[in-house]
Amino acid sequence: MVNNKNIIVTGALSGIGKATIEVLLKHNAKVFACIQFETEQYSDYLLKLNKEFPDKIIPIVMDLNDENSIKEAVKKIRSYKISIDGLLNIAGMTEDAIFQMISLEQMKKIMNINFFAQMKFTQYIVKLMLKKGFGSIVNVSSISGVDGNEGQTSYSSSKGAIISATKTLSKELASKGIRVNAIAPGTIATRMTDKVPLEILNKQLSKVNLKRIGQAEEVANLLMFLASDFSSYITGQVIRVDGGM
């Protein structure tokens, strides 16, 4: 599906991002794995991946909190002088709290990581894609960004902003060969859902048609589909991967 494609993945440290680089590598893509910071454990993991998929993975350290770090990451990506076929914006964070309890600082922090920094990074990568007149961008939103969710005013707002940007970018860029889509994962087994109390988790899952939690790999498969040429006539869409709700 993504044979020999060069794809940038943000948030590759854990959860959906980590599952995505694994799925992409298994399908013979070359992956720029953007991580916020390096840990010894992650370096070992990369070494292992590199052994299994030689010359297919390039780690890039990029802290979305820091504009300079974004710039440096782009510089490094550019230095490889290979065309970029896909950008998967997966990095994101949440700090759940009911509306009355959120400080403006917190709101800005979430919005900065989940939206402003992603847009800045996307801007740089679009410039690279425009040179070839080809590319696919997929933004990871959330069902919370579509439906809203208790305790997630800041998170859901940032994910809603991503959806809106996706639609506008599709209008601006699709005629130039760059498709832009968003996906909205439902309840997926990651560190983020680990923090959710079991009672609330079960309540959420009872609303899921498939009656089970989703796995990160299942989200990764959709990301791969949208990055691939299999979806060459799909743009400006928000696709839910939520087991049906």
Binding site: M1, H27, S170, K171, L173, A174, S175, R179, G186, V208, N209, L210, K211, G214, Q215, E218, V219, N221, L222, M224, F225, F230, S231, S232, Y233, I234, T235, G236, Q237, I239, R240, V241, D242, G243, G244, M245
Partner: protein, 248 residues
């Protein structure tokens, strides 16, 4: 990579257009196929033989008018008798007549609902009986963006496809517990025979309204139908995926 290895699929209306593209892609991806078409046709059978040889898959042609419920029942009984199982049902067959609301006859309206909705409903009911037993399955309904956008001359076709969409969501809710996923694909303006029923200026205007500025090709739709039929979409259900080049 064969995405449908060891799967058995039933595709309706696959003698031309989008259905034909789905048929070929499914064969290429290793699925055993029951290939449905309304009328028996030697060229079609020959094409199936060619696909079967080329991709080394079994393809069984089945012919009946979708609205002939008796023939449908006979087909289903044969399936049951042969202990066949269907992993993927692609409800693709459909008809359209374009006419302005005031010029549309109730007869034409009913005809479109008969094929696009009632026949689909009945066939799905039969196949779901097999799927619930096996506790797995994927159903893909080929709908249309006309179901959502409201297009001139589509006062019958649009509602028939909207009904399919509502059915998709209800079935997803009812059948999810049996591990059966139900989704629909909504093609935008796609380069098929159906397009010929639309005036050229409207087609050009619609292309202008897409982000991507071109017509869809049958293979574009088929690729999404393949993804939804495969296990790659194992957590996607109750969705309508627009394959429309970003149509507004």
């Amino acid at each position: 990579m064969r995405m449908l290895k060891n799967k058995v699929s039933l595709i309706t209306g696959c003698n031309r257009g989008i259905g034909k593209a789905i048929l070929e892609l499914y064969a290429q991806n290793g699925s055993k196929i029951y290939a449905h078409s309304r009328k028996k046709n030697e060229d079609f059978v020959e094409f199936l033989n060619h696909l079967s040889e080329k991709y080394d898959v079994e393809i069984i042609p089945v012919f009946w008018d979708l609205t002939d419920y008796n023939e449908m029942k006979i087909f289903f009984r044969k399936l049951v008798k042969s202990k066949e199982y269907i992993d993927v049902l692609v409800n693709n067959a459909g008809v359209t007549y374009n006419s302005l609301f005031l010029m549309s006859s109730i007869v034409e309206l009913r005809k479109q609902f008969e094929v696009n909705f009632f026949a689909l409903y009945q066939l799905t009911q039969y196949i779901v009986k097999l799927m619930t037993k096996a506790k797995k399955g994927s159903i893909i309904n080929v709908s249309s963006t006309a179901a959502f956008d409201g297009n001139m001359g589509k006062s019958a076709y649009g509602p028939s496809k909207a009904a399919v969409h509502a059915l998709t969501q209800t079935l997803s809710a009812e059948l999810g517990a049996y591990n059966i996923r139900v989704n629909s694909v909504a093609p935008g303006v796609t380069d098929t025979d159906m397009l010929k029923s639309m005036p050229e200026n409207i087609v050009l205007e619609t292309i202008e309204q897409t982000d991507i500025k071109r017509l869809g090709k049958p293979i574009d739709i088929a690729n999404t139908v393949l993804f939804l039929g495969s296990d790659y979409s194992s957590y996607i259900s109750g969705q309508v995926i627009r394959v429309d080049g970003g149509l507004k």
